[in-house]
């Protein structure tokens, strides 16, 4: 059991050199030795400056969202930080119904994540375990759709989904998102099932474990990483998607978060309330950052599987 889970995690060990594993540790010290003291200092300085370039705009946005709106529309100054307030947040909750849009976005993203997980798991298992007539071709067709940009299919999709009653419909949007996440999900889940040594479940059966027990204790730890990768990609795709939602959703009360922000930009009469817009953008941003930081090994695993495949 231990041996198996170690092999299934093996590719990650090299990517998480700070983990307790000795290869990472030796590699780190080796790098320091190569660089020398000055080189290591340069590396740290360069990395820190570069990190600031990437992180400061995001941190600044968070800070800005806590400034009163009249300060947001003035040139930044050091005095700004003494007047922090949550007024923008209470404002968009009260006058812009932001919680409704967060709910819509969450509903679609969770539905997309779950639906992708279920359908991709079924298909991944089917492709990994059974060979049927034409299975190779069907798998190739599913993968090839990864290369078809949905941005270029907006018109036929709109007409088709409209006639099926799926436009202006959050379930329709979730189905659309699920489809365009499936090729990747099926690919990841098929690989996951291909890597499972099935003798293991047979051994468990010989030892008297029931089918459920085999699934829960033996197979679950092997399947969960692939599943987490699939769900994470689908969720983040759905949460951040813009042009599809713009095309297929027209009713104000069905807007997802990016559409609600667009409405705050263009839909408002007169001056845009930039304080509100910034607070809304921060609400859209924070879940992505938390999910990525918490689950990044699954995210990176997904990226790498794409690289290996090419």
């Amino acid at each position: 059991m231990t041996a198996v889970s170690r092999t299934s995690y093996a590719p990650q060990a090299s990517r998480r050199p700070k983990a307790a594993g000795s290869p990472g540790a030796s590699r780190g010290s080796q790098g320091r030795r190569d660089l020398g003291r000055t080189g290591f200092a340069l590396y740290l300085t360069g990395g820190t400056i570069a990190s600031l370039i990437f992180l400061l705009p995001l941190a600044w946005a968070i800070l800005r969202s806590f400034m009163p709106n009249d300060l947001v529309t003035q040139a930044p100054s050091t005095g700004d930080f003494s007047q922090l307030t949550t007024a923008n947040y209470s404002g968009i909750i009260e006058s812009n119904d932001i919680l409704l849009y967060v709910g819509n976005s969450l509903l679609v993203a969770v539905a997309t994540g779950l639906l992708t997980a279920v359908i991709a798991t079924m298909a991944g298992y089917g492709f990994a375990r059974f060979r049927f007539r034409g299975s190779g071709i069907v798998f190739a067709v599913v993968l090839v759709t990864m290369m078809i940009p949905f941005q270029a299919l907006l018109t036929p999709l709109f007409l088709e989904m409209h006639s099926l009653g799926l436009t202006n419909n959050l379930a329709g949007l979730a189905l659309f998102y699920t489809t365009f996440n499936l090729p990747f999900g099926v690919f990841v889940m098929r690989n996951t099932f291909l890597q499972i040594p099935w003798e293991l479940s047979e051994a468990a059966a010989v030892d008297g474990a029931s089918a459920t027990r085999t699934l829960v204790s033996v197979l679950r730890p092997l399947i969960v990483p692939g599943l987490a990768t699939t769900v994470l990609f689908a969720f983040l795709f759905s949460w951040t998607e813009f042009v599809g939602a713009l095309t297929f959703i027209t009713s104000n009360n069905l807007y997802t978060l990016p559409l609600a922000l667009l409405n705050m930009e263009y839909g408002s009469v007169g001056q845009v309330n930039f304080g509100y817009l910034e607070a809304g953008a921060v609400i859209a941003m924070v879940p992505c950052i938390l999910l990525y930081i918490g689950l990044q090994r699954f995210y990176i695993r997904g990226l790498m599987s794409g690289v290996v495949k090419g």
């Binding site: 941005q151 270029a152 299919l153």
Partner: protein
């Protein structure tokens, strides 16, 4: 077979059928409401002479040409920084990649605020160092808007290139570098003679992903400039969107979309060809 049926059904309904349907629509004068007529290749002939469409194609190409190189170079540099797994590299990697995770739409709204004349952080910082006037209105001038959006996108997308290159760099056996060192190779020589040749597939992949992403640009332009001033910063996807859902010329818009699918298909096919070939030659070399 039952297991793969739902996946196949969804792909058939939402990808394969729309693909065929798109070709059909593009041969008609389909309006949003009302009857349509079959007009053959007329939409395509019109496209070839439509200055608006041609401008959006050229603009998209220009934008792609500007951002692809810097995204690659910045991404490569960051990959070099984080690949070793030294102290701090996980933090750096996370920091470099976060803008990509948050997404272009959300960040476009934030950028919109910071590009405002007199109140945005961009003007504030640039006027302090004397590079721009503090009331520069970035989003209403063609050159300024393009500049700002390119810098913004390089900031956004470099992290993905870093990830894709880092994966390849970590796969290169350390023995090769040690051997090169024994031969007295400098850092540059090791990078040029060992890393780059072995990284060919990852470089091709990251460049192609980056180019396709640029060809499909929409969010940043729609949110920051709405294609303006006029339609000067309108990329192809936005042309399709406006033509279809603002002008209601669905047939005509779809003809442009079919052209886009063909171009992206050619790039993707080239990707498969390039990556497969390099893999085969690698195997052959290994076999000898």
């Amino acid at each position: 077979m039952v297991l793969v049926a739902p996946a196949v059904a969804l792909v058939a309904i939402f990808v394969l059928f729309p693909l065929g349907f798109a070709v059909y629509i593009s041969l008609t004068d389909w309006p949003l409401i009302g009857p349509y007529h079959f007009i053959g290749g007329q939409n395509y002939t019109l496209l070839a002479h439509d200055p608006q469409f041609i401008h959006s194609v050229l603009f998209t190409l220009l934008y792609t040409a500007i951002v692809t190189g810097p995204i690659f170079l910045v991404g490569y540099g960051m990959a070099v920084l984080v690949r070793s797994g030294r102290f701090g590299s996980v933090f750096f990697r996370t920091a470099f990649f976060l803008p990509f995770i948050v997404g272009l739409a959300t960040e476009s709204f934030m950028t919109l605020l910071e590009l405002q004349p007199d109140s945005g952080a961009v003007d504030y910082v640039l006027s302090k160092v004397g590079l721009a006037h503090s009331s520069t209105a970035w989003t209403v001038d063609y050159g300024l808007a393009l500049t700002a959006i390119c810098v913004f996108v390089i900031w956004f997308a470099s992290g993905l290139t870093m990830m894709l290159l880092m994966a390849g760099m970590q796969g290169i056996p350390t023995e090769l570098y040690e051997a090169a060192e024994v031969d007295g190779a400098s850092w540059w020589q090791k990078e040029w003679r060992v890393t780059l040749p072995l990284l060919r597939r990852n470089i091709a992949l990251s460049l192609i992903i980056s180019v396709i992403g640029s060809f499909l640009a929409f969010n940043q332009f729609y949110i920051l400039t709405e294609g303006g001033p006029g339609t000067s910063t309108q990329p192809v996807v936005m042309w399709i969107y406006e033509e279809a859902f603002v002008q209601y010329h669905l047939g005509y818009a779809t003809a442009g979309a079919v052209a886009l699918v063909v171009v992206i298909g050619i790039i993707s096919a080239a990707q498969f060809y390039l990556l497969r070939e390099s893999r085969d030659s690698g195997n052959r070399r290994g076999a000898r």
